[in-house]
Symmetry: C2
Subunit: 404 residues, 2 copies
C-alpha cells in the first residue's frame, strides 16, 4: 500500500493546528495541538494499562462512551499525571475548546504528555485556545504533529488511500515517541483520522485488534507510560456505505489502518530516545502466535542486545539469551539467527549454536540505520515482528536530566 502525504489532514474534512502557548518554557517549541473534524466522527481509543494513569485518560473514557468525537486537543511539556486536581484541569481543557468551537464538551478528546507530577497550569492553554482554533487548516498536520513532540527529534505522520464500497477513502495519523515506550494495550500518543464511514463498534474492534500486532510490539525502554493512548476518528465524509460488519470493506479498512500503524511504529522506534538505529525483530517458525510475539518482544527489549546493536557487534549470544528468558516454550536446539540490513544478510547461529561467519561482513551489515534480527524457531508456522531501537549514551544523557 502506497503512502501519501497529509498526515491527519489527508482524510476529507479534517483540519489541524499546532502552536506554542507557554506550557513549555522554550518559545521555539510548539506545545498545543488540535485536530478537528468538520462533522462529528465515530471514535475509538485504547489506553495504557499502567495503574498510574494520566488525568486525560479518565476524562476520555467518559467522553468516548458514545463512540463519537469531533476534536482532539493535546499539550506537551506536562503529562497532567499524579496531580490532585488533574481531572479538573483536563475537563477545563475540554470545556475551553468546546466553548470556542461550539461543540459539546463530550465530543472532545484530551491528551497531555511531558513530565509526570508537575503542577499543571491551565492559564497558558486558556490563552492559547483562540489562536489555536483561528489557525485551524487543512494543511497543518505537521504543526499538530510538532505540538505533541517531547524528546522526539522527528515529526511522525503518515497516510494512505484505500477503497471501500467503491469509494476512495483515506486514513492518516500522527504520533509522538520517544521515551517511556513499552506500550501495553496502547502506546504513547497516536492520533489517527479517516473519512471512511464505519460504525463506532467496528472502529473500536479494528483498533483493538490492530494494536496487538503493532503498538503492543514496540518498545524503546521497557517503561510503560502513564499516558499512552491511541485514538482514531472516522467521519464518513468519503461517502462509502457505512461499515457495520466484518465484510470486505472492513478488511480494506483494517489493512489501511495496519499500514498506518506499522509505519508509525517504525517511526517511533527509529526515533526512540537517543536511538541511532531502528531494530526490527522478525520471528518465524513459531508454534503459536503467542510464542512468536513473546520471542520477538523479548529480543527487542534486551538491554544487552540493544547495546550490542549500538556497537554494531554481531553478539548473537545475547539474542539467544533473550529468547531463552522470553517466558514461552522454545526448542533452543532448533533456533537459527541471522542479521540483515540494506548491506546484506548474514547467518550467525544455526540449531542453537554458532556458525563461522565473517566479522567484517557482519559489521558492515550492522553499521546500517535499519537492522533486522531474523529468528527462525523452526518449530511451526507462526510469525511476528517487534520494533525497537539501540541503547546509546544519548538515551542515558536525555534521561539523566530530563526534568531539571
Amino acid at each position: 500500500m502506497e503512502l501519501i502525504s497529509g498526515g491527519v489532514c489527508a482524510a476529507k474534512g479534517f483540519k489541524a493546528n499546532g502552536i506554542h502557548c507557554g506550557v513549555r518554557k522554550n518559545k521555539t517549541k510548539k506545545d498545543l495541538s488540535l485536530i478537528y473534524s468538520e462533522v462529528p466522527a465515530a471514535a475509538a481509543a485504547v489506553y495504557t494499562t499502567n495503574l498510574v494513569k494520566g488525568a486525560p485518560i479518565t476524562v476520555n473514557r467518559q467522553h468516548l462512551t458514545d463512540g463519537r468525537a469531533q476534536a482532539v486537543i493535546c499539550n506537551s511539556g506536562n503529562a497532567n499525571t499524579c496531580n490532585a486536581d488533574g481531572v479538573e484541569k483536563a475537563n477545563a481543557m475540554c470545556k475551553l475548546l468546546a466553548d470556542a468551537m461550539g461543540i459539546p464538551e463530550a465530543d472532545v478528546i484530551v491528551a497531555s504528555t511531558g513530565v509526570i507530577g508537575l503542577k499543571f497550569d491551565i492559564e497558558p492553554i486558556a490563552a492559547g485556545i483562540a489562536p489555536l482554533v483561528a489557525g485551524l487548516d487543512y494543511d497543518k498536520s505537521r504543526d499538530a504533529a510538532e505540538g505533541i513532540m517531547t524528546t522526539d527529534t522527528e515529526i511522525k505522520e503518515v497516510a494512505v488511500e484505500f477503497t471501500a464500497g467503491g469509494k476512495t477513502c483515506r486514513i492518516g495519523g500522527i504520533a509522538k515517541g520517544s521515551g517511556m515506550i513499552h506500550p501495553n494495550m496502547a502506546t504513547m500518543l497516536v492520533f489517527i483520522t479517516s473519512d471512511c464511514a464505519i460504525s463506532p463498534a467496528l472502529l473500536q474492534k479494528a483498533l483493538s485488534t490492530d494494536i496487538q500486532s503493532t503498538f503492543n510490539m514496540l518498545s524503546v525502554d521497557g517503561d510503560t507510560s502513564t499516558n499512552d493512548m491511541v485514538t482514531v476518528l472516522a467521519n464518513g465524509m468519503a461517502g462509502n456505505d457505512l461499515i457495520t460488519e466484518e465484510n470486505e470493506d472492513f478488511g480494506a479498512f483494517m489493512k489501511a489502518l495496519n499500514t498506518v500503524t506499522v509505519a508509525l511504529c517504525r517511526k517511533i522506534a527509529g526515533d526512540g530516545e537517543g536511538a541511532t538505529k531502528l531494530l526490527e525483530c522478525k520471528v518465524s517458525g513459531a508454534k503459536t502466535p503467542e510464542v512468536a510475539k513473546a520471542a520477538a518482544k523479548s529480543v527487542i527489549c534486551s538491554s544487552l542486545t540493544k547495546a550490542a546493536m549500538f556497537g554494531a557487534d554481531a553478539n548473537w549470544g545475547r539474542v539467544l539469551c533473550a529468547l531463552g528468558y522470553a517466558g514461552v516454550p522454545l526448542d533452543v536446539d532448533k533456533i537459527d539467527v541471522a542479521f540483515a540490513s540494506a548491506a546484506g544478510t548474514i547467518d550467525v547461529c544455526k540449531n542453537g549454536a554458532g556458525v563461522d561467519f565473517s566479522e567484517e561482513k557482519a559489521k558492515s551489515i550492522l553499521l546500517e540505520k535499519e537492522i533486522e534480527i531474523l529468528v527462525d524457531l523452526n518449530d511451526g508456522d507462526c510469525a511476528s515482528t517487534a520494533w525497537g531501537c539501540d541503547l546509546t549514551y544519548e538515551y542515558v544523557k536525555i534521561n539523566g536530566d530530563y526534568r531539571t
Copy 2:
C-alpha cells in the same frame, strides 16, 4: 550480624585458588578458580530459569542429585553456552580436576562465565589444573573471587560467624556480577561455603528459600543470564549436631546465610556494569509479600528511574510510573515516596501526588553513592527490598563492544 574476613575460606576445611590459565587473552586477568573442601560436603544449588542454559548447568544437575560435592571449578572468559560440544567440555573439566585431586567426578561442581556462543577450548584449562591444585590454600578466597570476574570492577567476598548447637560456625561466599543480571530463581555465579553440619535437604531448602528475597530481588539490566547459579557447600567441620529439621539451629543458619547473600546482592548491584550508584528500593505497607516484591523490583528495573538516579534527578514520577506497571494491584492514591541516603531523607510524593520539596536538598541526597528509594503503599503490613544500580554511559560503552 558482624561480617568477618576470609570469604569462601572463612569456614573450616575450605581452601581456594585462582590463576590465569589462558582462556582469557589478557595475561593479567585470572580466569580459573577452585574451591575445595577437605571432606565431602552437603551441597545445594539453584540455577537460571533461562531456557538457554550453559553446559555446566546440565552437568551440575547430574552431579548434585546426591546432595554432595567437594570442589567447585569455574572459568571466566567463555560461558560454554550455545556450543554443540559444551556438555562434553564441561564433563572434561570435571574429570581433569577429579583426577588431579583423587575425588569422584560426581563431586565436582563446574561453572563458566563470559561470552556466549564462543568455541570452548579445553587446552588452557587442562594445562592450568596442576598449578591450580598445587596452589590451593586457606587464605586464597580473594584469588578465587578474582578468577570468576568478567566486567566486575571489584572483588566480591563476604563471611559471617554464627552459633549452631553450641558450636561456632562460619559461612562465607564469593560472587561475580556485573551485567546480564536479572536473576530468576538464581543469579550469576555465587559460591558459598560453610562448616556447619546440615543435611543436603535442609541446605537446599535454606538456599531455595533465601534466594526469593535476595538474588531474585536483584537486577542490573533486566537480562536473565544463561549461566546463573548459586551453590553452597556445607562440610560439617564446625562439629555442631547435624541440622536435619527446621529447629533453632536451622534458623541461625538461615539468618547467617541471609546476611551473606544480602551483602553479596548489594555488592553485585553496586558493581553493576557501568554503575556509579547502588539503588535500594524498600517497599512497605503492601497488602501481600507478592505485591511488595513486584513493586520493589519494578522500580529497580525501570530504565528511566535508573537514568534519573544517574543524573541525581529527583524525578519521582518515574517511580510512580514503574509502580503502576508492576502488574500487581495498588491503590495509586495512597502511595508515598521518599529518597534517602547518607545525606538525609526527603519526601517527594504523598498520596500519589507531588509535594513541595527543596530541589537542592534532593540533589545533595541523590549525589551519594548509595540511594534508598522508599515507597510506602499504605495498604498493609508487608515489605520487600530490591537492589539495582543506575544506568550510565559506561553501561552502554561496556556492552556496545564487549565481544569484539
